[in-house]
Homo-oligomer: 338 residues x 2
DNA sequence: TTTTTCTCCGCAAAGGTTTGCGCAAAGCTT
DNA sequence: AAGCTTTGCGCAAACCTTTGCGGAGAAAAA
């Protein structure tokens, strides 16, 4: 389509020397005389020569492209993580190609295959909600292709991961509720296949135990992390004979949905029901009442994942499991029980 | 680093035929006998052969990669647009590489140069806030490299663009305010270099005129679209001897900041000051009161931009200017004046 | 039987880059 | 002056793919 860009050949012909000489001159090879080196470099400047990454890729078997697969793009959480990945990638001369699995197992496999066809040097990804089997990563592992999981992970013995301290955070939330005088603390959990769901439930129960509160299965609702299913879960909780006086959602989307439903039923937050989210989407601060939430170091998660990729890309190293700390940001939605 | 993937050579050696024969067999060339064709294709299947895009790229001078530059990633608006671009790209066998200009002119140029080095087939982008000169696009135009602008645009005579009906929408907002009994309608505008800012101001003034209201320069504040500068602008407006009874922000971030500041000053929304945003970030529905805003067809903007790229990529065609319709979503924040 | 026509496949070049090796001319040593 | 080491550059292969052309063998025609 468009004209071919200037190549070594272009320069070589213009200067009446061989391609290899030009190549060497540009890399300041001692074999090339200083005068010629100078001339070559100057012409390269003038003609805005830049090495063809396709040719280099072919030669070195390295595209300098990282494939990134996220379950969703249009969320503060993933966008921010991608931003973190991008920043590290750029610093190290890598590009990132993003693909979205839309929380579908099938699409996740498609994306994976698709990116491998592109010959990405590795994959950084977050599992889809539907992903319950992990055999589709076998080929990568076998081929030694760098792979990094973040947030939702699997096969930690083989694949480096970066996650947050989900259980500790959930425990902290539960105890925070208790400290505010809440006794019937509910949790809207996510899909059980996801480590984040399981860990947060574990933290929830740990927190209950630490506060001497009994675990009531009725207070453990679950959803698929969509707003509608979270609304349904909230409705179910509020319809209980003994409804909860505190709810924490598996993420902020869930909490927002719960907030709407609670208000729709004419209940007050936090007077009647305290509420806490997870993931700290940007707008947690803007809702009324402001939402107490667990702040994820999203940008840092992205950066760390990218750094783990770089580690793997250098050579096979044992997979590291990085756990990043979260922070419970207390706002109005989890105020003292009157 | 990792082992080389299976190539035509691998297949050729395994089957003891030449590389060209394998290549032809895979593409069902009539020159190759049916029996051999069958054997080649079967082995290719078994070994999961897929053509090397680098080699193809070199040969065809086409990487099938689209470069995308956005001023920011971590917003509903841009994330959703990127999602739209990605969906079309995938459908047509393209990949997208995303770069972020962070609203900086300098970084915008870096990203551009960086993506061109990667030999992307074209660029889809949104101008940074700082971008006031447009000469850095000359090389692309000269080389015939496909280029598409969305939302914030320039050089519309030469470059295809996809924008929304900013002026009409701003006019609609202003008249909506008037219909709710507002008389002192303020606007917090964005940087004047941006078409979106100028068009929205024009719509604002058009709306005032249509309603027989005088334009008061004091009611036209401006900001750089950041929350802090929007807060300052709001403070300035509210400090006026005759403060506004309605404000519309150039986007939702601005409106959210205004909302906080208005409440901080003890004023009620919409009783004292009505408020309208622009861009309809997801959380507009979740704030209290829910924010009236102009809904952008973000996903569609992305899809359209990608389609315009495909048009250009096919061959040089005159640049089209696509204008997408927005929708004013009336919620509580712009209720009737008491 | 000889010539012609197919059928089926391989050679080689091109695209851009790096790099081991070879080779000529110049400078150096005795 | 003859042999030696440098110095400075080009050749060619490799990475992977497509494709025009040529060529060997077999089948068909004369």
């Amino acid at each position: 389509m468009s004209k071919r860009p200037v190549s070594l050949k272009t320069l070589a012909q213009a200067l009446n020397v061989s391609i290899s000489t030009v190549s060497r001159a540009l890399r300041n090879h001692p074999d090339i005389g200083p005068e010629l080196t100078q001339r070559v470099q100057q012409l390269a400047q003038e003609l805005h020569y830049s090495p063809n990454p396709l040719a280099m890729g072919l030669l070195k078997n390295a595209t300098r492209i990282i494939g990134v697969i996220v379950p969703a793009l249009v969320t503060h959480f993933f966008a921010s993580i991608i931003s973190g990945i991008e920043s590290v990638a750029i610093e190290h001369g890598y590009y990132i190609v993003i693909r979205c699995s839309y929380e579908s197992f099938e699409k996740e496999q498609e994306c994976l295959a698709n990116l491998l066809q592109l010959r990405v040097e590795g994959i950084i990804m977050c599992l889809s909600q539907e992903t319950k089997t992990y055999a589709h990563f076998d080929p990568l592992l076998a081929a030694g292709t760098p792979l990094v999981f973040f947030d939702r992970v699997c096969r930690p013995a083989e694949v480096p991961t970066v996650v947050v301290d989900n259980q500790a955070a959930a425990c902290r939330i539960t105890r925070h509720f208790a400290a505010q005088g809440r006794r019937r603390i509910a949790h809207i959990a996510g899909p059980a296949a996801l480590n984040i769901s399981r860990e947060r439930v574990a933290g929830y129960r740990q927190g209950l135990a630490a506060e001497g509160l009994d675990f009531d299965p009725q207070l453990l609702a679950s959803c698929n992390m969509s707003a509608t299913s979270a609304t349904a879960a909230t409705r179910q909780l509020l319809a209980l004979p003994a409804p909860p006086d505190a709810i924490f959602g598996v993420n902020d989307t869930t909490a927002f949905a719960a907030m709407k439903e609670i208000r729709r039923q004419g209940l007050r937050i936090p007077a009647d029901v305290a509420l806490v989210g997870f993931t700290d989407e940007y707008h947690a601060t803007v809702v009324e009442p402001a939402l107490t939430s667990v702040m994820h170091p999203t940008f840092e998660i992205g950066r760390t994942a990218a750094l783990l990729f770089l580690e793997q890309a250098k050579g096979p190293v044992p997979p590291r499991q990085v756990v990043l700390a979260t922070q419970l940001v207390v706002r109005e939605s989890s105020g003292q029980k009157p």
